[in-house]
Amino acid sequence: MKSSVITFPGSNCDRDMDVALTKFGFKNKMVWHNDLELPKSDLIVLPGGFSYGDYLRCGSMASKSKIMNSVINFAKSGGLVMGICNGFQILVEAGLVPGVLLRNKYLQFICKNVHVKVDNKENTFFKNLDKKVLEFHIAHNEGNYFCTNDQLKEIEDNNQIAIYYCDQNGNTNDQINPNGSIKNIAGIFNKEKNVLGMMPHPERMIDESLSGEDGSIFFKNLLNNIK
């Protein structure tokens, strides 16, 4: 299976994502933001980091990069696109997934392990996953997901919420919400469920010596679903 990771100026999880994808069997290519064409891919990943320094608004300048036209066309034609952390912010700014990401509720950068609940498995990203709760890792300053009431209704009606922050037993409540996201939303799909944006970093959880191994479960499952 072929994947491509886009490097924007200021991306800093691009190598980590390359390491993870390659480890689980993807043939991955790194793509420069100024390129016009995407290599033939089964999956496009917008990695985490601080594209354009997070100046102006996180993700806004990167969403106007040359390569993004191809990414948007790829997504519109049904191709799988995943944005992690800053990549999620870019997806939001590009209008590929609904909503916005605000500054964290306590105005601080947060780097820690979190649990997320996977509710919706009717999609390529989470289909066949045998766990309901995964332990992931977050590291962000602007992960506070927000949208209007109308948008929220639409999102819920379409089953677009991908993952929720929860405790280890899968309960969602305010206390375990790390950043103030509406409804504890940690990740969201587009209507067609071929585009996923999420704040947590599965690529940082890919071996037992790191913060955990649930990232491995995610990537292995994803590869099997694409095959």
Binding site: P9, N12, C13, G53, F109, H137, R204, L210, S211
Partner: protein, 729 residues
């Protein structure tokens, strides 16, 4: 502008230094030249008060590839790999403007490391604030932590460890020391020594602005009431540009275009160009009209003294300009050929077709002032006779609660959760342990790094304190299973012009030197920060030591959390009951006098090496060094981290429980071993003449002392984790 003695003194030069400049030049310098001299001859750049003493440090060893004198030190970590590392202070700017001061401190030290060709793989920091009750402390702490995170997180380099302390001696002068480790192939290390004639001198990175002019001079003076006026001397950081600069430099470094490279840190273009020329024994010619400026009408004086961040100076091979420019264009960075190397051994500056400065390089470097300042020797204070009955009456649970929740012991999670400590995907020991550990990407190796300081001990007796700090980093590395290799030091002191402060410096350096030599643990890089004082009040002497060690097989790394119930817990090293200068003495007994605990280098080495041997043999389940707060504090933290309890049964001692638990004798560790390995372990300890006490076994969820005192692990946790969170909210 006319130059005279008065103008020179306004530039921070002394009257006789000004006379020396005129004599060396055989004329009066013009204002640009005076600016250059003041930048090169200030304490921060010239080390004029410290040089004579720093020479005495132990800097050589089998693993040392580059010792002090370069942008950073370099050590061999086997195979083709080397680690480049250094610590540096950014104290003065951080007190004036905490966010930018701390951020640019982190940016500066990372540049020092990647200038040498190394990709930064880990950051650490040592930060010290005034009393928590002082009105400035909270804002300074918040600003500094935001600044460190703001820069390091954006760069995508994990912050894996550090140290935070509070002491009223920092009320008017906080300390912010930043350390970076980078990874490089041994055959791809870049140095700052220029070579060859008529080679192009290239400016890359951000444009030059008026920020930070005289930053280095500001860092070489004491504070007074007017510090707010010094805000414009603080530089403004742009981590995004630095990330681009890092990637562009590493891309260029992969080829063979670069002869030498130097970052523009303190004193900007001045010190970078002069250092390169001086090391290469060459001259350098610069056309200042070619320097990319972000503001209009900048004068030669301003261009030379600007401390705008994220800039580098490179000397290229002839004909490589186009290739290099292409790389910097790709990363959207400025690139300008601004001059060339010459054989004149002068620095010559041109602006608007006129020569605006001409100074022999050696007058700025070799002929810079060097002082053997007067210093006062300190006496070892007399031991305090503590009231035994008072000690006996202390309730252990209450005392433990006070100690665990005290600002200098409590969990610093509120701080390190704001630092990205997992980016790059190789962090295998996070902040909060004895050392941070990152894997060498794609190998079985890992490096451990720690930073420490013990200002209270150094203040009580500088010689002992200096030794102790080195030993503490050595223990921190051993506790995670790393073989200590080398250190970097950041020497934070008051005014060298005061005999007491100078004495503290001289004797701390002596102590550091002795410990490094004995432990074969050399100093490879460092930085001196004097004048950490406001008016007449100086800080406690605070040498911060960053230690680096190697773990050959990362799967053998040790953590401090207790692992399994039923396992045995031992204290390695002898507990004599040294209470003076301990946290117990200061916090509970309100006793500030007495000597620090004695440092026995033989025991340190023997105990540490024996423990490493036990780790190598897979006998050790968890380990933690005993430092501030004594045995019971160390054990409590191991319980908290492992979510396990312990049943402590003390052997019969001459000293009482309180002394045994809270004493801060040196050279000690707590270790956890399984029941079945116990015999083998004690045999090895006996054989190596290492003293040990077998003090307990691991149980579930409760700390029990002699079947009397019981504390649940949840209670311990709440003592330890709440203070900082509540203080900051």
């Amino acid at each position: 502008m006319l130059v005279n003695e008065k103008v020179a003194i306004e530039h921070g030069l002394k009257s006789d230094e000004y006379k020396k400049i005129c004599k060396l030049l055989r004329r009066t310098p013009n204002i640009t030249e005076l600016g250059i001299f003041s930048a090169m001859w200030n304490e921060h750049c010239s080390y004029k008060s410290s040089r004579i003493h720093l020479k005495k440090l132990h800097t050589k060893g089998k693993k040392v590839i580059q010792g002090p004198g370069e942008n950073a030190g370099v050590i061999d970590i086997d195979d083709k790999d080397a680690i480049v590392f250094k610590i540096e202070s950014h104290n003065h700017p951080s007190f004036i403007e905490p966010y930018q001061g701390a951020a640019t401190g982190v940016g500066g030290i990372m540049r020092d490391v990647f200038t040498m060709g190394a990709r930064p793989i880990a950051n650490l920091n040592s930060i010290h604030f005034g009393s928590p009750q002082h009105k400035k402390t909270k804002n300074l702490l918040r600003g500094v932590v935001h600044g460190i995170g703001g820069y390091g997180n954006c760069m995508g380099v994990p912050t894996i460890g550090g140290q935070t302390s509070f002491d009223s001696s920092y009320n008017g002068n906080i300390l912010v020391n930043a350390m970076t480790l980078g990874l490089v192939k041994k055959n791809k290390i870049f140095y700052s020594k220029a070579a060859g004639l008529n080679k192009p001198v290239i400016y890359v990175g951000s444009k030059t602005g008026r920020d930070g002019i005289h930053g280095a001079s500001m860092a070489s003076a004491s504070f007074d009431d007017k510090i707010e006026e010094k805000k414009p001397t603080v530089q403004v950081g742009d981590p995004f540009t630095e990330k681009l600069l890092l990637e562009a430099c590493l891309e260029l470094m992969a080829g063979d275009s670069i002869i030498s490279i130097q970052d523009m840190g303190a004193a900007g273009l001045t010190s970078s160009s002069i250092e390169m020329a001086s090391k290469g024994n060459l001259g350098i010619e610069i056309n200042l009209n070619k320097v990319p400026c972000r503001e209009t009408k900048m004068t030669p004086y301003e261009i030379m003294l600007s401390e705008s961040q994220e800039r580098m100076l490179i000397i290229l091979e002839n004909g490589k300009e186009d290739l290099a420019k292409k790389i910097f264009d790709k990363w959207n960075l400025d690139f300008a050929v601004i001059g060339k190397t010459t054989n004149t051994k002068n620095i010559e500056l041109f602006f608007d077709q006129k020569q605006v400065a001409k100074i022999p390089v050696n007058t700025l470097v070799e002929n810079s002032p060097m002082y053997d300042r007067k210093w006062k020797k300190s006496k070892l204070p007399k031991k305090i006779k503590h009231d035994r009955s008072k000690l006996k009456n202390l309730k252990i649970k209450e005392t433990l609660k006070k100690v665990l929740s005290s600002p200098n012991i409590c969990s610093k999670e509120w701080i390190w959760q704001q630092y990205d400590h997992t980016v790059m995907g190789d962090t295998i020991q996070k902040p909060g342990g004895d050392s941070g550990v990152v894997r060498i990407h794609g190998t079985d190796k890992a490096v451990a790094a720690t930073v420490d300081s013990s200002a209270t001990y150094c203040w009580a007796h500088p010689l002992t304190g200096g030794k102790q700090v080195v030993c503490e980093t050595w223990r921190n590395l051993i506790s995670v299973g790393a073989k200590p290799i080398a250190i970097t030091n950041c020497l934070n002191f008051g005014s060298p012009e005061k005999e007491e402060n100078m004495g503290e410096f001289v004797e701390c350096v002596q102590g550091i030197g002795e410990a490094c030599k004995y432990l074969e643990y050399p100093v490879v890089s460092g930085n001196v920060s004097f004048y950490n004082q406001t008016k007449e009040i100086g800080i406690k002497p605070t040498p911060a030591i960053g230690g680096v060690g190697l773990i050959k097989d990362y799967k053998k790394m040790i953590t401090m959390n207790f692992k399994d119930t039923g396992n045995q817990v031992l204290v390695i090293g002898k507990t004599e009951g040294h209470i003076d200068q301990s946290l117990l003495a200061r916090l509970i007994l309100d006793e500030k006098n007495g000597p620090p605990p004695e440092v026995n280098l033989f025991n340190e080495k023997n105990n540490g090496e024996t423990l490493l041997n036990l780790i190598e043999k897979n006998f050790i389940k968890s380990a933690h060094d005993v430092s501030l707060g004594g045995i019971i504090t160390a054990i409590s933290k191991m319980c908290i981290k492992g979510n396990k309890g312990i049943e402590l049964k003390l052997p019969k001692f001459l000293i009482n429980e309180i002394e045994y638990f809270f004493a801060e004798d040196q050279g000690r560790y707590i270790i956890e071993v399984s029941l079945e390995d116990l015999k083998d372990v004690t045999k090895i300890l006996d054989k190596n003449s290492v003293h040990y006490d077998q003090i307990g076994k691991i149980i579930d969820k409760e700390l029990i002392i002699n079947q009397k005192t019981k504390v649940s692990i949840d209670e311990l946790k709440s003592y330890n984790t709440n203070w900082l969170k509540e203080y900051m909210n």
